[in-house]
């Protein structure tokens, strides 16, 4: 076989400013040509008429649970969910068992991902040994084994001295620190502190817990002139802090999850643990601020924080159930809702899922320039479908969007020139 030719689709590549009816040819795992009308003998031809052809999406934030919690998700099932959602690349967080705090675990993840041969799975190494916030993890070792960023995600690095050390030491290897911003005032809480927590007596996690650490990290980033990335931003205060910091030229970036730009704390009125995650669903004001941040560029990318759990773990009292929801297979449909609402343009949405996240961790991919990796998502912007978690590729069925009808579905995913998802045999 010599290459794949996708014909007749609307090709959108924000990185190179292309938006039009174009054919795209891939050869030897790389983008070979983009032209209005390509004839390539011997290439496998895929008809993308009426569909959108974009760079394969990049998710800077997933939890694949391997090693240690394979009953929740494995690297293979996670990667399968990723490519189903149009993601060619995902970055998996370090809170496995054991934690990814050394080169051996990093290598294991890389090896499992290579065997699965689906999405590109990039390990994020821990900031601290065993994620306990005390001593730096073996950052150089993890870098050598393939780590692309550093984070204790799931936990916040409460010690400001340690987070600064991680930023400084990590910079030697070109690794950015990603922070789960949450000070100890959120401890023991299950949902946002606000109207629902007041009314229903569920312990709240205040927005200030996120704001204070976001501001702290911005201050440190400015002081040492090194980048910091804020994971799953969810509060008005944090968005405003990032906006102000960017205006000052501070190297701060941030991501938002689809659930945080779609849902509010109101969902928790039925105590349903499928709506429990950290940071929690916030107030309407916060959702508005997050959308404003997407609109004006304050927020750099969309990331899922895909966090699968077994069904029995979520069938629990609200204050005892684990945090987290799955997201890889609903991200596109929910992001397209923002386009439909006029919050962002279609090109803007694709950029938030491709070249902009790629830039934050310096990942290959995220563009369709000639010579770039042949990572592609082909989706139908108009296709309506019902969210049935039981049909997810992910082992995790803990989606807050169960039963929703979404518009927009990924139909084809190519990673490194290989078709890895093509359920309708395009």
């Amino acid at each position: 076989m010599s290459g794949i030719l996708i014909k007749g689709g609307r090709l959108i590549d924000p990185a190179s400013g292309i938006d039009g009816l174009m054919d795209i040819l891939m050869e030897e795992g790389k983008i070979a040509a983009i032209e209005p009308n390509i004839e390539a003998k011997g290439a496998r031809v895929i008809d993308a008429k009426g569909l959108i052809v974009a760079p394969g999406f990049i998710d800077l934030h997933v939890h694949f649970r391997e090693p240690g919690h394979e009953y929740k998700e494995t690297i293979e099932t996670g990667a399968r969910a990723a490519v189903a959602g149009g993601f060619a690349s995902v970055c998996c967080m370090a809170n496995t068992q054991p934690a990814n705090d050394n080169g051996t675990v990093t290598s294991l993840i890389v090896e499992k991902a290579r065997k699965a041969a689906l999405a590109r799975v990039y390990p994020v190494g821990a900031v601290s040994k065993n994620l306990d916030g005390q001593e730096l993890a073996e950052i150089g070792e993890m870098k050598k084994a393939g780590a692309v960023a550093l984070s204790d995600d799931g936990r916040c690095v409460l010690n400001p001295r340690l987070v600064r050390s991680a930023m400084e030491y990590g910079s030697m290897f070109g690794l950015t620190v990603v922070e789960h911003c949450e000070d100890s005032s959120a401890k023991g809480g299950a949902i946002n502190e606000g109207e629902v927590s007041a009314r229903f007596g569920i312990k709240g996690m205040p927005a200030t817990a996120e704001d204070s650490i976001a501001v702290r990290n911005i201050v440190i980033s400015e002081y040492i002139s090194l980048p910091v990335h804020i994971a799953h931003i969810s509060t008005k205060g944090a968005v405003e802090a990032v906006r102000a910091a960017k205006a000052k030229g501070i190297k701060v970036t941030c991501e938002v999850t689809p659930h945080h730009f779609t849902l509010t704390e109101k969902e928790l009125e039925n105590f349903d643990p499928d709506f429990k995650m950290s940071p929690p669903l916030r107030a309407e004001d916060d959702v508005r601020a997050v959308k404003e941040g997407l609109k004006d560029g304050t927020i750099d990318c969309i990331a899922t924080d895909h966090a699968p759990h077994a069904a029995w773990e979520k069938e629990m009292e609200i204050d005892k159930a684990p945090f987290g929801v799955v997201g890889l297979e609903t991200a596109l449909g929910l992001s397209l809702k923002l386009v439909e609402e006029g919050v962002i343009s279609l090109t803007g949405m694709i950029s938030l899922l491709t070249n902009r996240p790629a830039r934050i961790f310096n990942l290959p991919g995220g563009s369709l320039k000639k010579g770039a990796p042949a990572d592609i998502a082909v989706f139908d912007q108009e296709r309506e479908w019902k969210v049935e978690p039981d049909e997810f590729f992910s082992k995790g069925k803990n989606s807050p969007f169960r039963g929703w009808t979404l518009k927009g579905k990924n139909l084809l995913t190519i990673v490194g020139g290989r078709v890895v998802f093509n359920p309708e045999k395009l």
Partner: protein
Amino acid sequence: MNSLKLSGRHLLRIADLSTDEIMGLINTAERFLEISEREIKKVPTLRGKTVVNLFFEPSTRTRTSFEIAGKRLSADVINISVQASSVSKGETFKDTVLNIAAMRPDVIVVRHSSPGAALYASQIAGCSVINGGDGAHAHPTQALLDLMTIHMHKKRFENLKVSIVGDILHSRVARSDINALSRLKADITLCAPPTLLPKRSEVFGARVTHSIEEAVADADVIMMLRIQQERMAQGLFPSLREYAEYFCLTPKVMEKAKKDVIIMHPGPINRGVEISAEVADGPYSLILYQVTHGVAMRMAALYLLCVGEG
């Protein structure tokens, strides 16, 4: 009495009840009071029905109250105390409820430290569930017996001035009372240090004050809440001594009160902390009547869920 039937199969929170249903429960309970005064305190109404008290939290008053209520109606009452131990053995709340439900009781009374636990139980049990208190969320039978007590002494709710004093933040009783009283158009004042009020407490539509004198001054009803020592460890107030200095209902504070005020407390009381012994045992106090009314109200709840006919 037979004209009332609850529209729902469960009693989970006040918000699920119509005001007609609330008044119907109160009227039914007031009629049941008499049974507890008889020489033979038993009627055959719920013969053949099984009530399980499934308590995941220690409780003396509520459990005993439900047990006596069930027995006075001739139901078979079984008490199960699931201490943290059973959970630590690995059985989930869901499995425990399913196992009890599999023994086919007619009613399960659930007491649990997690908000929403009774609602969840009602979704899986296949029988009636009564919320016997779930975390800081709700305690509907307590609110109903509180309303019954107010009703018997004040005969009305509309524009009645009710002050609730104490740890509102952690109180399921306060949440259920506020819900019920505001539905019946009472005029509510909440009194607590700011650290023991929920953020966004304006959602309750009540007046808020930090002065107990102010809360007491024009109140028709004063509802005191228990203060728990563990809140001190959480940094919410400095000491029981200082709490008492500012928020204890003492004879001195009572000098400001109306002459026909009534004082209530869901118990157990901390004498000298939130309420002084003189006031708790004094002429305005209805604390022990509340306990008596509790049995009648739980009889009414069991009766209307199990039998209630139209």
